[in-house]
C-alpha cells in the first residue's frame, strides 16, 4: 500500500505514515476548524493498513498544539494501534513532550487511559 505523506501547514501537522516500516508519525500543530476533513483520510489509511500491517507499528506524536476536535481523532488513531497490539501484532505509541511540560505529559497519560494502552512518554 502507498505511504501517506502530508506537508505541515499553519493548521495541520506533518504526516508521515510509512506502511513498510510501520512508523506512523504526526508532527507539528493540529488546529483545523474542520477536523473531519483533515483526519478522515488518515483514519481511512489506517483502516486499510491494519488489514496487513508491518511486523511492528509505532504511532509517534510530536505535537506542539492540538485542538479538542483533533484530540478525538488522535484517540481514534491510537485505538487502532491498541487493537493491533491486543491482537499480538506489536503496536506502540510514542508521545513526545518538552522536558518538564507537565500539561503535555498529563495529556499523554490521559490518552493512555482513553486508548487503554501504555504510551511511552518521551522527553525531547
Amino acid at each position: 500500500m502507498e505511504n501517506l505523506i502530508l506537508d505541515r501547514t499553519g493548521y495541520t501537522p506533518q504526516v508521515d505514515f510509512n506502511a513498510t516500516t510501520g512508523i506512523l508519525e504526526l508532527k507539528g500543530i493540529s488546529i483545523p476548524d474542520d477536523s473531519t476533513k483533515f483526519f478522515q483520510p488518515l483514519i481511512n489509511w489506517m483502516d486499510a493498513y491494519v488489514e496487513n500491517p508491518a511486523a511492528s507499528t509505532t504511532l509517534i506524536f510530536k505535537m506542539e498544539y492540538f485542538n479538542t476536535s483533533s484530540t478525538v481523532f488522535m484517540l481514534r488513531l491510537m485505538k487502532r494501534v491498541a487493537k493491533l497490539d491486543q491482537e499480538g501484532k506489536k503496536g506502540k505509541i510514542h508521545w513526545y513532550h518538552q522536558p518538564n511540560d507537565e500539561d503535555f505529559i498529563e495529556a499523554g497519560k490521559d490518552f493512555a487511559v482513553l486508548a487503554k494502552m501504555h504510551i511511552d512518554l518521551i522527553s525531547y
Partner: protein, 180 residues
C-alpha cells in the same frame, strides 16, 4: 475625535492586545502565531504560555464556527470578534466576545451554567468522557471548546450574555491564566 486619547485608552500599560473586527478561518493560526511571539518576548514560561494559546485556539474557533457577523454591518465578512488580552501581575486575562443568535444564547447559557457547577475534577472527568465518546459536530468541532477553556484557566472565568435585540445577543467570556 481625539485619536491620541483613544490610543491611550487602548494602549493601557497592562494591555497586550485589543482587537475588534471580523474573524475568518485563516485568522486562528495568525493570532496564535502573533500571541505566542508576544508571550515568548515576555518570557512567559512554557506551561502558562501553552494554556493561554490553547484557550486562544478554542475561543477563536468557537467564534469562527458559531459566531455571527457584525449585525450592524450585515456584511458576510466572517464572525465579528472582540479579543482583549491584558497582563495583570503574573496572570493573563483573555476576553472574547461575539454575537450569537438569541436561541443559541439560551443553549449556551444552559451549558455554561451546567458545566460551571462542576468542580475542576468533575470538569476533567466530563472532558475525558466526551473525548472517549468521540462525537464530532457537523461543523467539524468536538463541542468541547468551552470545557477545555475552563480547564486551562482552572475555572478562573466569568461570562455575560447581553441581549442586543430580538434576534441577537452578545456573548463575552473572560478567562484568567495564572502562573501556576
Amino acid at each position: 475625535m481625539d485619536y491620541y486619547q483613544k490610543y491611550k485608552e487602548l494602549n493601557r500599560e497592562s494591555n497586550i492586545l485589543t482587537y475588534t473586527g471580523p474573524l475568518n478561518c485563516h485568522d486562528v493560526a495568525h493570532w496564535k502565531e502573533l500571541i505566542e511571539r508576544a508571550l515568548i518576548l515576555q518570557r512567559v514560561e512554557n506551561k502558562q504560555r501553552r494554556r493561554i494559546i490553547n484557550i486562544l485556539i478554542e475561543a477563536l474557533q468557537n467564534i469562527h464556527l458559531h459566531g455571527e457577523p457584525d449585525i450592524n454591518i450585515s456584511a458576510n465578512a466572517g464572525s465579528l470578534c472582540l479579543l482583549l488580552m491584558d497582563k495583570q501581575e503574573n496572570s493573563y486575562v483573555l476576553i472574547f466576545g461575539n454575537y450569537v443568535r438569541t436561541e443559541s444564547a439560551k443553549t449556551l447559557e444552559d451549558r455554561l451554567h451546567r458545566i460551571g457547577k462542576l468542580s475542576l475534577e468533575e470538569l476533567k472527568d466530563h472532558y475525558m468522557e466526551m473525548i472517549e465518546k468521540g462525537e464530532i459536530t457537523q461543523k467539524g468541532g468536538a463541542g468541547l471548546g468551552l470545557v477545555k477553556m475552563l480547564l486551562e484557566s482552572k475555572k478562573n472565568s466569568s461570562y455575560s450574555i447581553k441581549s442586543v435585540n430580538e434576534e441577537y445577543a452578545f456573548f463575552s467570556l473572560e478567562l484568567r491564566v495564572s502562573e501556576n
